[in-house]
């Protein structure tokens, strides 16, 4: 299985490490041609303004909208997927919703669809989902704010599953790339 990680800027290396540890082949995606033949795509955390400018510079927006496989967006990746950016998910992200770095935190988080003990979720200058359409399933919340959502083949989380050692969220994503779920 070949999974792409958008590598214009941000936490792409940590995603790559985790995906490889789970047995996937990983390709860093910097230009449009890198999207060919992928079974799934991760849009990592980073700075969403930097990433959006990179997507514009590389003329990737249309190609990303046309990408047919599963996509996992984390933190800035969640923002990139929202209505105001790629418009792939029917969600409205609020940037830096939890505040500046001093408000960044980690917490135990129950995520629908992930069995066993809660995930240790790392939130860094994280967004939350301020509103969403009917087709979106909210998978987790913090203080009443939605921080994880699924819409068909698209999975978006406001935290950083790639920074811990718990690979269950990536396993969930890879299972969808494999076609073994849905």
């Amino acid at each position: 299985m070949l999974v792409g990680v958008l590598a214009l800027q941000g936490g792409f290396a940590a995603h790559g490490r985790m995906l490889r540890a789970l047995g996937a082949d990983v390709r860093e995606v910097r230009v449009g041609a890198d999207l060919d033949g992928l079974d799934g795509l991760v849009i990592p955390g980073g700075e969403s303004t930097t990433m959006s400018l990179g997507i514009e510079r590389e003329r990737l927006a249309e190609l990303l909208r046309a990408f047919a496989g599963p996509i996992l967006g984390t933190c800035a990746g969640l923002i990139v997927l929202d209505r105001a950016h790629l418009g792939l998910m029917d969600i409205e992200a609020r940037r830096n919703a939890f505040g500046r770095q001093v408000r960044s935190f980690e917490a135990d988080l129950e995520v629908a669809g992930i069995d066993g003990p809660p995930l240790r979720a790392v939130f860094i200058r994280a967004p939350w989902i301020a509103s969403h359409g009917d087709g979106v399933e909210i998978l987790a919340s913090v203080d009443g704010h939605a921080v994880a959502a699924r819409q068909g083949r698209l999975l978006a989380v406001a935290f950083h599953p790639e920074l811990g050692t718990d690979a269950r969220l990536h396993e969930l994503f890879l299972a969808s790339c494999d076609g073994t779920t849905d």
């Binding site: 800027q9 910097r30 980073g46 800035a76 500046r100 770095q101 980690e106 200058r125």
Partner: protein, 294 residues
Amino acid sequence: MRDESTFRVKAGLAEMLKGGVIMDVVDDEQARIAEAAGATAVMALERVPADIRRDGGVARMSDPLMIQSIQAAVTIPVMAKARIGHIAEAQVLEALEVDYIDESEVLTPADEHNHIDKWAFSIPFVCGATNLGEALRRIGEGAAMIRSKGEAGTGDIVEAVRHMRAIRSEIRRLGTLDDTELPSAAKELGAPLHLVRGVAHEGGLPVVLFCAGGIATPADASLMMQLGAEGLFVGSGIFKSSDPERRARAIVEATTHFADPFRVARASEGLGPAMDSLESRGLGDDQLLAQRGW
């Protein structure tokens, strides 16, 4: 259970800055230009290193009003510098809720023996290093991100290359030693043994490693990324050049596509003159900022 300011949260922000360019800015106007050009963060300071060098005198933390005006102007992370060992400046920057504090040799050191105890702060710190021992001493004090020092304000890449090569080759050398040899290596490096063990086993630092000091062109950016930098700080190189906006975009592009010479070539086209530069070799010992800190 919810925990703020864990080391993972501190080091994690640097992880999100990877592959990006952090730009020195002296006012909100420059900060907006940097953000629009694709900077992943800005470093708020009153004078860029080239001007600090020219003006001489004591260089200190910036005016809080100036830092706040930059925080209000952009949504990307805002960093600010405290003098080496100046605990109170760091406390002020923490009170202002900057996203990262740079305990920086570019400012005049406040303490010639002790760096700040960075574990005592909830805001993460980045510190400069010229070699692996220095990097690990700073991490031992709580730094959550390291940048090679280079020689700030010169536009000369040679010191950045020296420091990055020193750090990377010392990391590789540790990987060739067996566990019995590591305590002696730790003693030579002047670094905590547990961190030396970690580097030997993992093949890298436990935090993100950026490069700073002397980057002036897209090719400089590509060079440092090829030598193992995970991202870049660019100080005087952008806003002291003839066309800051264009050069900022070009350096961002060259940092992403550092391994593709055709993209670096395209990014380098028609940028106009780079900053006025100084050859590091021509500087006296008292003018070398990289020698501050230990």
